[in-house]
Symmetry: C4
Subunit: 225 residues, 4 copies
């Protein structure tokens, strides 16, 4: 295979994968209407694959996914890309280890974000997945780099793969798009359970050494090797 056909083949695979992963956002009710999206980096290229803007989840196909460069400009696609493309492109530029980004306004996580309050680590699942609290990023308006910068500035200093952007919603990252989707699912699950727990009293804290031990084990032992 030439380098050109190889990148085309990779992009074809990512178009199918990114398209299919949106079904996890609807399955777990993290999104309504068209309000949420998944993107993936094209490994080894300054490119990303992302959902088209304002298109219903039922109407997504591998073909209508949009390929952009890491400035958010369309490289291949008939549709305008997600209005979150600039923010996600910024993340890919600044965080080379990131292979996938997800954005949702999932209810419970966004409810914490509206209060600018991080989700405390009071569940073993929170320790496993987020290594501590789920942090809050700044209020930032769409249209320039400020959302991207807010995401990167918050996640660089955290073990968490998810950030609650104030008054806005969730951005999550991962080494792959699938890992970023998992982080978005787990973020909502933890945000919901801790919310429900707090409604009737104070959850018991987990000590920092316990959080560290849980996080370490989960990163290194869980799942198939």
């Amino acid at each position: 295979m030439t380098a050109v056909t190889e990148v085309q083949s990779t992009i074809g695979t990512l178009r199918r994968e990114v398209c299919a992963l949106h079904a996890e956002l609807t399955r777990y009710q993290l999104v309504v209407w068209t309000a949420g999206n998944v993107s993936a980096r094209v490994p080894g290229h300054d490119l990303l694959v992302i959902k088209p803007s304002g298109v219903s989840y039922d109407d997504l196909t591998p073909e209508n996914m949009v390929v952009c460069d890491l400035e958010g400009r369309v490289v291949d696609g008939q549709h305008a890309p997600s209005s979150d493309t600039e923010a996600q492109a910024y993340v890919y530029r600044e965080m080379p280890q990131v292979g996938g980004v997800v954005h949702t306004h999932s209810t419970y996580a966004t409810a914490w974000a509206a209060r600018a309050e991080p989700v405390p680590c009071v569940l073993t699942m929170g320790a496993d997945e987020f290594g501590g609290e789920i942090p809050v990023g700044p209020f930032a308006v769409i249209g320039d780099d400020s959302i991207g910068r807010g995401i990167v500035d918050t996640l660089r200093g955290s073990r968490s793969p998810a950030v609650l952007m104030q008054n806005h919603g969730v951005f999550s990252i991962g080494p792959t798009a699938r890992a970023a989707v998992k982080a978005a699912v787990m973020c909502e699950d933890v945000a919901r359970t801790v919310h429900v727990s707090r409604q009737l009293g104070a959850p018991v804290p987990i000590s920092q050494p316990q959080v560290d031990a849980l996080f370490d084990r989960y990163q290194n032992v869980y799942g198939q090797r």
Copy 2:
């Protein structure tokens, strides 16, 4: 095509569209049993297409949708139209820019309506879609123009495409029936998220200039051009 076959063709299209859009009300759990409906204006004619009264969502077909004039009288249809037809006809008479109307008793929006409390604008999604708070309309009883008047009087002075009718439920409008359904979906999503956020404290307000900037951008930039 003659003018007669043209309007028949338009009505046929709207029957299919209005029928199909009810599936979005059930998908997002905005309605139970038969308690909610969608209507569309027949452009250029003093007619509307609406759900039949008391018929299950499973049993809706393009054929059993009802065509009424803008006084709510049946023009074509075997069934009685929705008991909300008078209210919706009033909206079409008074607001010529409206092409679709939706009515639901979706849980969280109706919960705010029962307290006669508008949903404050503390989410970027609220600023995007509603341009501020989601307003409350008066208590009004079915059977005359008072619901229609309450909807129109409230929405005329607002950027919001949705109104919470006190002790009752939601009416939403849009340039098309699909846009009105989107407004109903987003209304419930915003009402739910702000409710959940308020349960554990006070959400951070978004300043009016920021709300204005978000609303303006969303109306003019989002989606496919």
Copy 3:
């Protein structure tokens, strides 16, 4: 048709109808596992058709529905009838206008029942369907007539077709099994919306004359004639 084949034909129809209506209980998430049931009176006969006890909703067929007399004794069926059969048989004996009975432990209605607190009438939907508050019946243990008596004593003095049995769950009635299922669905919807509304403050009351007007119109005008 002879009288014998006629009642057999009626019972066959009711077996199919009662079986099918359980799908509405699962659709609206009013039940989990096997905890809820529908029954229908066989018109003109001292018989009822009811769900078998402890059988999963997926495994229900018209054939495994159980026919009992109005003392709750099995007349036709391979399975033991629902453990609620005695209570429902009591209702059919004492309330001749009742053609269907439904029992659920739906979450929000049961939450009010656990506090022995009626659901106040602060929604037009509550006025339409229940004609006022949804009442609470006594704490009663299974195994004799006390549940049936509690249902009948409470509903006889009420316009409501549903009763919240203290610490237990919902029983609803109707002229048909389908109407009783609708009452169970609407009971949970109203109980949930009023619960959510009360979480953040006091809902606005609806005056008794307004409740009466709404109830009267809904009973006489709504739906297909």
Copy 4:
């Protein structure tokens, strides 16, 4: 049949049953992503059948279930077993009457667990299924016997088939895997209803003799004989 083909046949049946029962965990939304699992004891052998670790529910097949001994070591299977295998193996070693174990992080039950607060018995369903409150087990970290010991120490002194492990989630047991799944479903349902009830006030207690009578009847009379 030889003893060898007999145990192989039993294991084949249990692989299918354990695999299929995971669909109940997703149906009742007790789990997200891969966070929950079912296991079954192989009767008469020191073996168990359990979900593979980190594999999506959509991808489960009878073939990828894992057979382990009661020390948690893989005996047959291509995949690593659930990371909860050690805890569940401990339960099978210590409680010979247990034929199935389930683990979830279902929202409401886990919310009580995060506050280390048992779910009080204020519903007849709670008395029927749990014979009293749903108890809390200790905080315990994964990786040794401490979770298993916490489960066994708590359930040995209780009529409840479910335990809320502090800051963690639910473990439930039963004579069969299906019974353990039922206990997990009922645990979440009771935890949710009591939570909702408590949000607006104090549920009415059920006296201990009434709890005892309900529990006794339910264990001995309910369902098909």
